[in-house]
Structures are given as C-alpha cells and as structure tokens.
Symmetry: C2
Subunit: 213 residues, 2 copies
Amino acid sequence: MTDPAPRRRGRPPRAGAAQGPGTRDRILEAAREEFSERGYAKVSVRGIAKSAGVDPALVHHYFGTKEQVFEAAITDAFAPALTGADALAAGPPEAVGERLTRFILGIWENPATRAPLLAIVRSAVSYETAAAVFRRLVAAQLLGRIVRQLDLPDAELRAELAAAQLVGIAMLRYVIKVEPLASVTAEEIIARVAPVVQGHLTGFGDGAPGTKP
Amino acid sequence: MTDPAPRRRGRPPRAGAAQGPGTRDRILEAAREEFSERGYAKVSVRGIAKSAGVDPALVHHYFGTKEQVFEAAITDAFAPALTGADALAAGPPEAVGERLTRFILGIWENPATRAPLLAIVRSAVSYETAAAVFRRLVAAQLLGRIVRQLDLPDAELRAELAAAQLVGIAMLRYVIKVEPLASVTAEEIIARVAPVVQGHLTGFGDGAPGTKP
C-alpha cells in the first residue's frame, strides 16, 4: 500500500538521487499527507514536492497538475478497494450485500486505510474539483464493477442507493462519530446493514421495498 | 427556537446605528455565508462582523466565541427542521419512514435550506469543533425526537442507521452528485428509500433485516 522506503523529507531537491524507484511513491505518499492535513485548497505542488524532498518539476513530471496529483493519490489509496471490488462481484449474488458491507467497513475500521479515505471525503465534500475526481474513480470504477454483475435495467441507481447506506454509516460512525453508532461493533452494523445493501442491489423480496413489478 | 432578546453579555459597542432589530439576524446570516464560503477554520469573528457591517464587539456581544456563532448559525438553519421533527414524530408510526424521508429530501431540494446545510456538512466533516456542534444539535435534537417515539430498547441505533441512509443519499445526490442518483426525481428516491428508513426504525417484517428475535 505505502512505500516502505524512508521518506527523505527535507533533502535538497537538486540531488539526482531523488529520482529513481520509490520517488513516485514518495511523492504520492507526501501528496496524500498534504491533502489529508491541509485540505485540497491549501495544498500546492510546491508543498508536496517539499514534503517529498524533491524538486517541484519532478512532481509535474510524474503527475502533472495539482488535480492530477490528487487523482493519482486517490487512485493509489483506492487500489486495494478496486481489486477487492472484483472479488466482491465474483461471489454468489445473494450474498453480495454482506460482502460489500464487510469490505467497506473493513477499509474504514483499519486506521491505515481510514486516513486516506478521510482525506478524500473531506476534499470531495468541500471542493468541486475533488468531487469530480471522486465521481470518476469511486462511483464509476468501484460501483461500476458491481453494476456490471447486476442484470437489471436500474442497476446503477440500485448500486448508488446501496452505496448511500454505506456512505452514511461511514459519515456518522467514523467522521461525525454519533453515539451509539460510533461504538457498536462492526458485526452489529453488518448484521443490520448488509440485508439493506443486498435489498437495494437485488430486491427486498415479495412486496418489500426495492422490488420492481 | 432561538432567543429573541439580545444577550446582555458585554457592553454594546459604539456603533449605535448597527444595533437594533435585525442586527442579530444580519450577523447570523453573515456567519452562515462566511462558514459556507470559507470553511470553519478560515472564518473569524472579525470577518463575520465585517461582512455584517457591524463592530466585532457586537458579534461577541450577541453570540460569544466563533464556536458559539457557529452553533447559533446551525441552530438557526435547523430551526425549521426541528419544528418539523415534532410533526414527523406525531404521525402514524407505520409511515414515519416516508415522512422522515420526504422531510429530509424536502430540505435538500429547496435551495434556500440546502445552502446552510451544505455549509454545516462541510464544516462538520473537516473540523472536530464543528462536528461536536453537529452531534449536539442534529443527532441529539433531531434524532432524539424520533427516538422518543420508538418504544424499542435499541431506538437510538435504529434512528442512526435510518439517518445514515438519508445522510448517504444527501452526500451522493447533492454534494458529490453521482449519476443517475443526482438526476432521478425525489419521488423515485422516496419510493425506494422510505421503506428502508421505516425498516430500520420499526423493523423490516418477519425474518427480514432490522427485526430482533
């Protein structure tokens, strides 16, 4: 997930050693920290470069504009999620709700993956540029993989309503931290929420919500 | 909801013309705009005063600290929501899910109430101080009114899971704007989401999610 090599924060940017394997990852990690700590608007390519110990030109070289660095940082943070999404879609369809719920809660429960996710959510909520990146990557790629497995005409809307339940849980449990939702076990939440996610995706059963005549 | 009488804490500043009926409201409106446009961290009491055309001492006089101005601005923005929440709880319990869903979507669909709500969400997501205010006001007051009507031992958690579905819809439809969720009619969403909100609150029926043995 992250580059194990130590970051050379504060290293003179001229040094040619700043290039080579690991540099790209180091810039990405610095970008993620900058976006996380300072928020999208206050981050600059120069600041990312300084934090990564490289010349700003190198950031431009690898990624381009600030928006592009942000997109790369999100993509990187979501790489395991996207890999996982393939596995999610691959299992039995009658349990996709539980798999998706476990998977999303798993990302949020793990402090290592929660931090970049929080950074993304905060940026996406406050800046249209960041929201656009979020839409392209998360909505299109993560949900897209699930949608393709659902052989239903309204699969996209179904996937988004299911995602909305999980996004709301994440907001109230991990970001706003309302009680008791912030303190109950993940299993308690999975037991109550997975059937709702499943219901949105494949229907709630006869006469129940989510079914179409 | 809010105290109509000005608080007498501190001495009124010299600018006599700035005082009088409407001054408090003008400060509140300026505060809401400042928090909305600049985000919690970048707003200052001085900036709010300038935007409202009053002396900073008058802001302190009416509200106190920045956090207190923020809380007052949220309280003010949520006043109709809290009034509505009483009506929500008063109707037949088997339709509380639809009433709550209609009510929350109604607030978000109306541009006049959407703007302050967006400001609150953005601040609450990014700043712990703002999140604490959000917890106190929205979670405790809005959900509290619904919880008191549910004669169930786990009513708080139920209300939060229902709220999570609606918070997620708001995030994806109005903030991040994912498609098709951002473009379908409110009625389409209500038809699919109200039964889920109802299910969280009062149970999904025999053997379905949300019921307790």
